[in-house]
Amino acid sequence: MAAPEVHHLFHHPIADHSFSADRQTLAIARDTQVELYGRVGNAFKLKDELKGHDKLVTSVDIAPNTGRIVTCSQDRNALVWEPSPTGYKPTLVLLRISRAATFVRWSPSEAKFAVGSGDRVIAICYFEEENDWWVSKHLKKPIRSTITSVAWHPNSVLLAAGSTDAHARVFSAFIKGTDQRPEPSPWGERLPFNTVCGEFLNNSAGWVHAVAFSPSGDALAFAAHDSSITVVYPSAPEQPPKAVISINTQLLPFMSLFWNGETEIIAAGYDCEAFRFQGGEQGWQLAGTLEKAKAGGRPGLGGGGEDGREESALNMFKQMDLKGKVSKDDTQLKTVHQNTVTMLRPFEESGGKVTKFSSSGVDGRVVIWHT
């Protein structure tokens, strides 16, 4: 397994990151702006800044085919940035929410996107040709609290959402005129807008931090604040699910997760490293960390040197002289990320498997990992 590729961009939390389809451009939500980094050799260099929000940008997503960037912010707005020869042009989206927008994702069809908010609604936004304007419809019921994350089903109609009311829900976000009628699935057959196809809660009912559909769309995973991951296998519309499997871990809670095929989930969060879960309908288990602890320090951490510092006798006595004790340098974590990982995204896929994925966190690092 090759070493992860570490990009320490700045000393500031990264709320969200997204790569373009060619993986040459990296969009980073930093404070009130979105920074675009271009790949130069092995590094990413700042290329452009998208300034349009006046509060913290909470989420950013690049549509792989159209290249459009959507951002949302605590200023209650979402902007669609259209690429043009002279740079990116922002268009304001009518979200009609009175609290912060928390999370945004393009649907796989790229014709619409979903914005989660603190206003107990999810705005499903689509482009209205006649008005030349992005408008939105609200998914409202039965959300009782802030939406922390959303994830699209591969059919671009079903949407999963995690909320601080401890529920992970599956909604229909069918927009007439924009969407094709979806194939029937275990989640439902007829799916008018705002159909609730599933509502799931785990045992201790903590905040749901992340949701994700499996590649086929026939299973849903969510991570909650009780350090657990729950996988739901629906059976048929209006029926209780075939299986709901909860894995409580000994770790700190996970903030983000994604599926690697149908039998593997990778999740990361407050433990600052990614973990692998494996299983299926019969059961799931924690398979271990993706961090490879190598002898003589971790790969790529701070460009070397820092780690492999020699503990010489001279150094020891110097420390004793300065501090009155031999202090171990314990300000560094043993993980590549030095703070909470807030977002994981598949980076490179082949044959239905994710071969590389990227992570970003509070420590201002973006890391590309091999699975």
């Binding site: 401890a166 809660l201 201790s204 009912a205 409580n248």
Partner: protein, 206 residues
């Protein structure tokens, strides 16, 4: 004069910040019973709690400390009167006090490895924190809660191995606290920090 209001120190107050806008929003969380979000929990009466106490004691007398511990952790009192919760807390602490320090870790590991063992240790953690709360409030004596000190002293009918001395409550709460703390350490070793996180997030309170 301009129609734009001129702010002076007097008019520019921040009183509006103290308005609870959630209360004015019809379907906001403060106007909504959050407990309806969870499935209802079975209610346990005080008599039930006493019955569990009896069974657990029997197991203890029979020398099956692990069975006793598992038994009382599998039937936590989530929904019940204060008295029922208090009774169950006594039961748990009685069991904890009767287990030797050297047996703690192996016993916890065995329980954790079993089906549903992780939940059992989460419940144990809840009772440890509840027990610590009860002992500390009895130590400063300022709490108005019902006889927390009683939680620590073994009841007269019990066959608890903790010596019963007429000495002050302080000493017994001190020793009870040290029992709870050493259990806490062992539980974290086995069930990890996730266990503490779950106790804090869980809506089911003991």
């Amino acid at each position: 004069m301009s129609i734009i209001q001129q702010h002076t120190q007097a008019t520019l107050s921040d009183a509006w910040r103290t308005i609870n806008i959630d209360a004015l929003t019809e379907d906001s969380s403060v106007n909504f019973d959050v407990s309806t979000l969870h499935p209802p929990l079975p209610e346990v009466s005080e008599a039930d709690a006493r019955a569990i106490n009896g069974q657990v004691r029997q197991l203890l007398r029979g020398g099956d400390a692990e069975g006793a511990l598992r038994g009382c952790l599998e039937m936590p009192v989530y929904n019940g009167s204060e008295a029922a919760k208090e009774t169950h807390l006594h039961t748990v602490i009685e069991v904890l006090q009767s287990i030797k320090a050297s047996e703690m870790t192996p016993m916890l590991q065995r329980i954790y490895a079993q089906q549903g063992g992780s939940e059992c240790l989460d419940v144990l953690m809840k009772y440890l924190y509840k027990g610590m709360g009860a002992t500390s409030s009895s130590a400063d004596g300022s709490s108005g809660r019902a006889t927390p000190a009683r939680a620590m002293t073994p009841q007269a009918t019990g066959f608890s191995q903790v010596g019963q001395r007429p000495m002050a409550a302080n000493e017994s709460t001190g020793s009870a606290m040290s029992v709870l703390l050493s259990w806490h350490e062992k539980v974290v070793e086995v069930a990890g920090l996730g266990c503490i996180g779950r106790v804090m997030t869980d809506f089911r309170r003991v």
